[in-house]
Subunit: 138 residues, 2 copies
DNA sequence: ACACCTGGTGAGAATGATTTTCAAGTCGGG
DNA sequence: CCCGACTTGAAAATCATTCTCACCAGGTGT
C-alpha cells in the first residue's frame, strides 16, 4: 500500500501465441463467426488453441471494444473485428456476410426515448438480418 | 391423398388448462419474463405446468405473434404479451419493466438499408436496455 | 543462472437454458 | 364407448458457455 496504484486499470494483457492466433483469425475473415467456428478454424490451420481460451480471448477483445459481438436469432454469440466507431450491422442469416451501417438518427432517437422515460445507463442493440444476394440465388 | 388437404394450415391448437394457464400468467404481469420464471410462478400459484410445456407454449404464442420474445443481454429468451402492431421495447435491466415504443422512421430506415444492399427476407431487432427510474434510486 | 510470482493455458467437469424422447393422458367425434 | 390425433411431463439429451485446477511460460529481483 505504498502509492503505486494507478486506479485499478485493466490488466496489462500479455501477448501470447494464442491471443495472436485468435486476433489473426478474426482479421482473416470479414464475417461474424462463433467462438466454436474460430476454434475449429484455428485447429484446422494447425495453430490449435483451447476452446476455453478462445472464449476468454473473444470476451476480452469484445470488452476492449476491439471486436463486435452480437447474438444470432437463435441466441448464439458471434464475433467480428470491426471499425472503432459505433455502428450496426446488416447480416446474412445463412453465410454471415456483414455490412456495417451507421444511423445517427437512430442513435438520437433511442437516446431521446430513454431520456423521456427517465431510464439511465442506457444501451441498445440494433441488427438487421436477411439473405444476401449471393445466398439468395440458391 | 384424396383431396382433403387445406394448404397445410397452422394446426387447430386445442385450448387446454396448461395453455390457458400460461396465457393468463403472461396477461397478469406487464414485464418480460423467462420461461423458467413463468413455470415457477405457475407452480407457486398452484396451477403447475411442466417446464417443457411452458417452453412449447411460449414458442407457439410467439410464432403466432401473440407475444413478443427477445433476448436479454446475456442471451436468455424472455416473453411478454404485447399489442399486435410492430414495435420495440425499452426494458429495465434489473426489474424487467417495459415500455413499448414505436419508431416508424427506424422501420423505414432498416428497409431502405436492406434494399440498398439487395438483402431479401429481412427482419430486424432493436431493443433499448437501461435502468428504470424506480430501480435507479437504489 | 536461479528461485519466484503472476498471469495464461487447456482438458475435462460443471452449468444452465432449451429441446427431444416417449409412454401415458385427454379430447372430440362417430 | 372407442379411435385417433393432439398434449403433457419427467427424465434424458443437446449445446453453448463457464469453471476448475494442475501445469506452463515469461519477466523480475538477486
Amino acid at each position: 500500500m505504498t502509492s503505486t496504484e494507478p486506479p485499478a486499470e485493466s490488466a496489462p494483457l500479455r501477448p501470447t501465441r494464442q491471443r495472436r492466433a485468435v486476433s489473426e483469425a478474426l482479421a482473416a475473415c470479414d464475417d461474424f463467426r462463433s467462438a466454436q467456428e474460430i476454434h475449429e478454424l484455428l485447429g484446422r490451420r494447425g495453430d490449435p488453441v483451447g476452446l476455453a481460451t478462445v472464449y476468454r480471448t473473444l470476451q476480452r477483445l469484445a470488452d476492449a471494444g476491439e471486436v463486435d459481438m452480437l447474438r444470432t436469432e437463435d441466441g448464439e454469440a458471434v464475433y467480428r473485428r470491426c471499425s472503432g466507431s459505433h455502428h450496426h450491422h446488416l447480416v446474412c442469416r445463412s453465410c454471415g456476410a456483414t455490412v456495417e451501417v451507421e444511423g445517427p438518427a437512430v442513435e438520437r432517437w433511442t437516446r431521446a426515448i430513454a431520456d423521456r422515460h427517465g431510464f439511465a445507463d442506457v444501451s441498445h442493440t440494433l441488427e438487421i438480418f436477411g439473405t444476401c444476394p449471393t445466398c439468395a440465388e440458391s
